[in-house]
């Protein structure tokens, strides 16, 4: 008896000791005086993004740009004004979701960096958790609006980092989604090399033609939960927008409406009709596999973001490099269901995402952090960043200069961005996206589209409440 109690006693004592150390730290609401430490003569800043150094590492170019250009330039400029600065780059380079979770933990413990890169779609969640604050609060409305960069960033792109009407950060770049197709396979199937479909039916017709070719899977339409957000952004949403409705509008989410069912029916046509490979949608590395197959000429069409062009099949640096990329890979805008049936009467659609930089509201040096941030997004810095591997930047002046010689990216910037749409930056979005992925998975597995839509609607209602859903019957 004594000894049992003794044993238990030791453990409880240890636990209580620790518990008393770990007091309930009431987290101060983020923020404080925007002008604090504005005149500091010496300071340190920490910058973090999901990038790692070293060749082949994740976002290595960004990591190198920050450590080899941005930081030295910034430090030197400050030195010239007699201020002693040290800027540290905090590497990460892991899966985006892991990065986000770790950031959530760090911000909760106030361990996070001063300038942080986040994905635009996370803004809602972080804002609701009060981990980030509107720029106007952290840095000061006057300083923020005084930045010249805003003139160069279109409102739609700036909206990537907005939530509830407030600007939380500055976008760092964006992308667009198009249909990539193999001109060589198209030629073999008797299809035009300069293909531009104007309706869903034309896509299906092309797929049917491609289906005649041996060993070729006609198309890849992202589906299922294994591909996570790629399913929603590259598969479901462009199609949904093509039926004339947006996922979220006027305070309501689309439930099992006829439009949603039509999109799921398109999935059913593709996957039950042998126009796509259902197994690729279900395996853990299916998306990687689909890229490799396209590169090897086994898939005819892919709907993807320009990341595919510039990163995956890039002849120099890609993970599925195609030496003949520029000759063999064509691109076409994603059509609406019928001409003019898209949202706002559009004939062609796209989705864009992107991330940006925020200033940690708990930083000791908000003014300096803002200076660093705006320096990163200055024309010179962006040109330096993107010189070797162009990408669509948030600034039009940079795009004009940079993309002049890159027909594809110029296409994205000039033709796709004007017609593109963005995902709702709401807290609930990640869940809704998951429900969509699950619905497409059901259809790929053979479920009836209307039923899959019903199940989706049920989950949606449970999550956001009946009032926030446009139901199938209403």
């Amino acid at each position: 008896m004594r000894t049992t109690r003794g044993l238990v006693g030791t453990i409880l004592a240890g636990t209580l000791i620790v518990a008393s150390c770990v007091g309930g730290d009431d987290e101060d609401p983020a923020g404080g005086d925007a002008e604090r430490n504005a005149d500091a003569e010496s300071y340190t800043l920490r910058v973090m993004s999901n990038a790692a150094l070293g060749e082949g590492a994740k976002n290595a170019e960004e990591a190198m740009w920050i450590t080899e250009y941005v930081i030295p330039e910034f430090e030197a400029a400050q030195e010239a004004e007699g201020i002693d600065v040290t800027v540290e780059f905090v590497e990460r380079g892991v899966d985006d979701d892991d990065y986000k979770n770790k950031l959530a933990l760090d911000m909760g413990a106030e361990e996070a960096a001063d300038v942080i890169a986040i994905d635009g779609i996370w803004v809602g969640e972080f804002a609701a958790a009060q981990e980030i604050a509107p720029l106007d609060d952290t840095v000061g409305a006057d300083e923020v609006s005084a930045w010249e960069g805003w003139d160069q960033i279109p409102d739609t792109i700036a909206s990537l980092m907005e939530f509830d009407g407030d600007r939380y950060g500055v976008p760092a770049g964006t992308d667009g989604r198009v249909i990539y197709y193999r001109k060589d396979l198209f030629q073999q199937a008797g299809l035009p090399a300069d293909w531009q479909p104007t309706s869903w039916q034309e896509i299906l017709d092309a797929a049917e033609a491609l289906g005649e070719l041996p060993g070729v899977t006609p198309m890849q339409l992202n589906a299922g939960t294994a591909m996570t957000e790629a399913t929603t952004m590259q598969g479901f949403l462009p199609l949904l927008n093509g039926t004339g409705v947006e996922l979220y509008a006027d305070g309501k989410w689309q439930g099992a409406t006829p439009e949603v069912v039509e999109v799921l029916e398109m999935y059913a046509t593709v996957y039950s009709g042998g126009l796509g490979d259902p197994n690729l949608q279900k395996t853990v590395k299916g998306r990687d596999d689909s890229f490799l197959k396209f590169a090897d000429g086994e898939i005819g069409m892919l709907i993807e973001s320009d990341y595919f062009w510039r990163d995956v099949v890039n002849p120099r640096t890609g993970v599925a490099p195609m030496d003949n990329r520029d000759d063999v890979v064509g691109w076409a805008l994603i059509p609406a269901q019928e001409p003019g049936s898209g949202i706002e009467g559009k004939d062609f659609l796209s989705l864009s995402g992107g991330g940006g930089w925020v200033v940690n509201p708990d930083t000791e040096y908000p003014q300096q952090a803002w200076d660093f941030l705006t320096f990163m997004l200055s024309k010179e810095a962006l040109l330096e960043r993107l010189a070797n591997e162009p990408q669509v930047s948030p600034r039009t002046d940079v795009n004009d200069e940079l993309l002049r010689n890159d027909p594809h990216l110029a296409f994205i910037a000039d033709e796709v961005l004007p017609i593109t749409d963005f995902r709702p930056a709401l807290e609930e979005y990640t869940d809704v996206s998951l429900f969509i992925q699950e619905a497409t998975l059901d259809v790929v597995n053979g479920a009836d589209p209307a039923e899959a839509a019903q199940t989706y609607e049920e989950k949606l209602i449970e999550r956001v409440g009946e009032d926030a859903v446009v139901t199938g019957s209403g």
Binding site: V18, K282, T283, V284, E427, D431
Partner: protein
Amino acid sequence: MALAEPVEAAPPGPTASTDAAGLGRARAWLFVAPGLVLVAIFLVFPALWTIYLGTTNYELLGERKVSPEFVGLDNYTDTLADPEFHDSVVKTLLFVFGSALVGQMCLGFAIAWMLRTAGVWVRRTVETVVLMAWILPGSIVGFLWYAFLSEDDGTLNAILPVGDSAWLVEHPMWSIVIFNTWRGTAFSMLLFTAALATVPPSQLETARLSGAGGWQQLRDVVLPNIRGHILTNALLISLWTFNDFTPFLITGGEGSEILPIYIYKTALTGQQQLGLASAVSLIVLLINLVVALAYLAMLRRRRVR
């Protein structure tokens, strides 16, 4: 060195242990203390805290990070009513039964039994290869098994004369059961190798002389002697398999949502409901407890006899 006395297969667990070195209670306490302190701080405390979280609706981000509410037993009732949870429990039980109890134990035992009579080099080679499977880090193993089981160009499909199957997609449960058998057999094999070594040769000899064949020796002499070891092994590997997350790296959880994956999805994807996930973790612990008690009951019954 010659044996001082014949060793009776000592059952594991609370034996009539003798304090051979004269430790005494006080010193025993001292010996155990440092470990207990470490465990109290880094295991018991976070575990209890997690259990507490199970009564809230805390989320990693969003409003419920700043102001989580106490929801009492709601998380528990929600989980117990969730059909996906039931599905997950069934899948986990199948997974544990198939890969640990049947797969790892039987294969481990079979290998240990066979290697008794194999030459030194054969024994070393086989043991090493089986252990490699256990030692390799999980993320690497994910790649290995994807390469092995994938539909096109998968090694298994290349070897099998029958047509190519999409193992991971069409037979996810079988895939993870076979995978986990491969992965964890080493533990059982080692355990049984040692256990078999404790079977008194005299008893085996007697059995053989009275005409008992291999199977009968196994059944009448070996198994009764190592029964205790079988049960402890079963207990450990059941618990480990119940909480093993590695299959996620192979199937991404599709068609194979065992409980650790269910918890992971609840905690870190979508709404990131850590409170709910904590509640599920406690439920899993209670299930493990039931399993452990079952094994202990079997152990105790054995000794009373």
